[in-house]
């Protein structure tokens, strides 16, 4: 096991990439620390799978290096890298039984028969395949097939890392939760480095210690779920994480005040006079309706979902969402909206400004 370092890594599927837009994966430096569970989160087509395939060696990067520990493995084959990977859609060996499928990665590496037997039993038990071990793989449901794929991914205990490429896409929702829990406990038990690609934020936030958010071939932020939620480094992170996403208002900022159409909101920190396209970002959870102070608001729709009320409204003709506790009554004279100053983020040209560190994050 080793940490995985990506150095100036970039990849293009074109043979002669010119501009930045030709790259499926833009230049990237990152170290995946040994034994951590990461989630790679981003919308479809943002380069997640490309990055994963480069790490596993199925794809050669156009530029840059991949290091396992201190060792350069950029040119090394998948076998040499000793990595396990689970794909989005189930890949099973049809003519084999479930048990033979699980044993396949081990027997290919010439493991001892007794060890294989024991390991297969163990994994089968863990992911709920014991009852099917003797069955042919081909007739099984998609759920079970994907469980086999998962099982083959985790059956080897000597791998450098296990990569998951949206492994639960085809799985039933309630089973998803169960399998994710199993993966987590597997991680706790064996301490493999795990990288889990997904476009589902719930999946990412519940699985991983650290979440890497990608967009258009670029890594925008790496952080804990809480960091992503409270201090998104980029407008896209604010918008993509959270349901509903962050609200944004174009403002101008002077010191501790954000001004929009002559209305002022207080800020918790002194931002000075930031340049560029300035946006105020606030989570719907930290937005409240008031009778007196704040910005004028026009409420368009209220949805009561039990514990919360989702309010859809417009401020200066921009749509915003507000999440209120269910017990808060919305009254007719609540015509203003105010923001919790501590939770406000200010963005310049899409990137977050952090006055404490004197620039963007």
């Amino acid at each position: 096991m080793a940490s995985i370092t990506l150095e100036n890594l970039a990849h293009s599927y074109l043979s002669d990439p010119k501009g930045e837009t030709d790259f499926a994966l833009r230049e990237l430096n990152h170290t995946w620390e040994d034994g951590h569970a990461y989630a790679l989160l981003g919308p479809s087509g943002c380069g997640k799978t490309t990055l994963l395939n480069i790490i596993s060696g199925l794809l050669q990067p156009t530029r840059g290096r991949v290091l396992f520990g201190e060792q350069d493995v950029t040119q090394a084959s998948t076998a040499q890298r000793n990595i396990a990977q689970v794909f989005q859609f189930p890949v099973v060996y049809d003519t084999m039984t479930v048990g033979q499928n699980l044993a396949f990665p081990l027997s290919n590496r010439g493991m001892d028969a007794r060890y294989i037997e024991e390991r297969v039993q163990r994994i089968a038990q863990m992911i709920g395949l014991e009852a099917h071990l003797g069955q042919k793989a081909r007739g099984l449901t998609a759920d079970l097939k994907q469980k086999i794929s998962l099982g083959r991914g985790v059956v080897r205990d000597d791998v450098n890392a296990i990569l998951f490429d949206e492994p639960l896409t085809v799985i039933d929702p309630n089973l998803k939760w169960e399998l994710r829990t199993q993966l987590k406990s597997l991680h706790r038990e064996f301490g493999h480095t795990m990288i889990y690609v997904t476009h589902d934020q719930t999946e990412a936030l519940t699985f991983a210690e650290k979440v890497v958010v990608m967009h258009e071939g670029q890594v925008l932020q790496i952080g804990t779920p809480q960091e992503l939620f409270e201090t998104p480094a980029h407008v896209f992170v604010g918008y993509f994480i959270g349901s509903p996403g962050m609200n944004f208002l174009p403002v101008s900022v002077e010191g501790r005040h954000a001004i929009a159409h002559g209305h002022t909101s207080a800020l918790a920190q002194d931002y000075g006079h930031p340049q560029g396209d300035i946006m105020l970002g606030i989570r719907p959870e930290f937005t409240s309706l008031t009778k007196g102070e704040g910005l004028p608001v026009m409420i368009k729709r209220v949805q009561d979902v039990g514990r919360y009320k989702f309010v859809n409204a417009t401020v200066f003709e921009r749509e915003i969402n507000i999440v209120l506790d269910a017990h808060i009554e919305i009254e007719a004279d609540m015509t203003k909206v105010s923001f919790d100053p501590d939770k406000i983020s200010i963005f310049s040209n899409d990137w977050r400004i952090d006055p404490a560190s004197g620039g963007k994050l």
């Binding site: 199925l58 794909f87 859609f89 890949v91 290919n108 042919k136």
Partner: protein, 292 residues
């Protein structure tokens, strides 16, 4: 409750098809059935002979010998063409202009009319002037397909392999191309050997098209007529007289309409039976483990 209209007139719409099928296959077939139970001395006079022709044919060595040769021929060409076709498909380039070129080259033999194939090989393999025949003779090997039964067999088989292996290769190639890339990636991750990839991924995924290839090649080879007829005329002696060549001799050469009709029907039934057996066996092998 509304009365459901009971309109049977829609059946008239099927009439054209029925008429077409009747004239193209059912009526000719019934004519043959009719002939097979009668004897004729010309002048359009027929006598009822019952099962006489069938009894006679089943006892004739001539038919059994031809059937034996036919089965041997079909088995040999299946044993050669199926593995060879798969091997060619596996080694064909996967994309780019080379792939297109290969496909066109592979398809060429399939486009040549059967009797032209026969003629090509008849000239090509001639021991006196043919390129192949002359080359073999000059190597010091005695080779003459017109006089030696073994040489005739080898030539007919090589000709069929040349003509038809492409079909198996093209079908296999199509089967191979439809395998999602993820399977190969997973195999790479699982560190499967090249053989394991073939055995556990490619072969199972190709099984559907291979069933079709085997059936097509079996039926076609079992009915082979034109190419050996042009090449050897069924000789030397009766060495390459396959069922259809024998049938034509009987029906047109000797004008024995009754026995030839009986022969045709049995020939048809044998092909039907063997194809059915092939199909059932292969489908059930394919479904093994599915229906659980």
């Amino acid at each position: 409750m509304t009365q459901k209209t009971n309109n049977q007139r829609a059946w008239f719409l099927v009439l054209p098809v029925l008429a077409l099928v009747a004239f193209s296959s059912i009526i000719p077939m019934i004519t043959v059935v009719n002939y097979s139970f009668q004897d004729s001395f010309g002048g359009n006079e027929f006598f009822w002979v019952g099962l006489e022709w069938y009894r006679e044919l089943l006892q004739s060595e001539r038919l059994w010998d031809a059937l034996g040769r036919q089965l041997l021929f079909s088995s040999i060409i299946l044993l050669i063409e199926i593995p060879l076709g798969i091997l060619i498909a596996l080694s064909m380039p996967k994309k780019g202009w080379m792939a297109s070129l290969c496909l066109v080259l592979m398809a060429l033999p399939l486009l040549i009319p059967y009797n032209v194939v026969g003629t090509i090989w008849q000239v090509f393999a001639r021991a006196d002037i043919g390129l192949l025949g002359r080359a073999i003779s000059d190597l010091g090997l005695s080779y003459n397909y017109a006089q030696n039964a073994f040489d005739a067999w080898v030539t007919v088989i090589v000709m069929d392999v040349w003509h038809w292996t492409s079909l198996v290769a093209l079908l296999s190639y199509a089967g191979l191309r439809s395998i999602p890339n993820a399977y190969y990636q997973a195999a790479e991750i699982d560190q499967a050997s090249r053989w394991a990839v073939f055995r556990y991924i490619e072969l199972p995924k190709m099984s559907g098209v291979l069933i079709i290839a085997v059936l097509l090649r079996f039926m076609d080879s079992f009915m082979i007529y034109t190419e050996p007829f042009v090449l050897t005329g069924g000789g030397p002696g009766n060495a390459t007289t396959f069922l259809s060549i024998d049938l034509v001799k009987m029906a047109l050469g000797q004008f024995d309409l009754g026995p030839a009709a009986a022969f045709s029907l049995m020939y048809f039934l044998v092909i039907l039976l063997i194809s059915y057996v092939f199909y059932t066996v292969m489908i059930s092998a394919d479904n093994d483990g599915t229906a659980r």
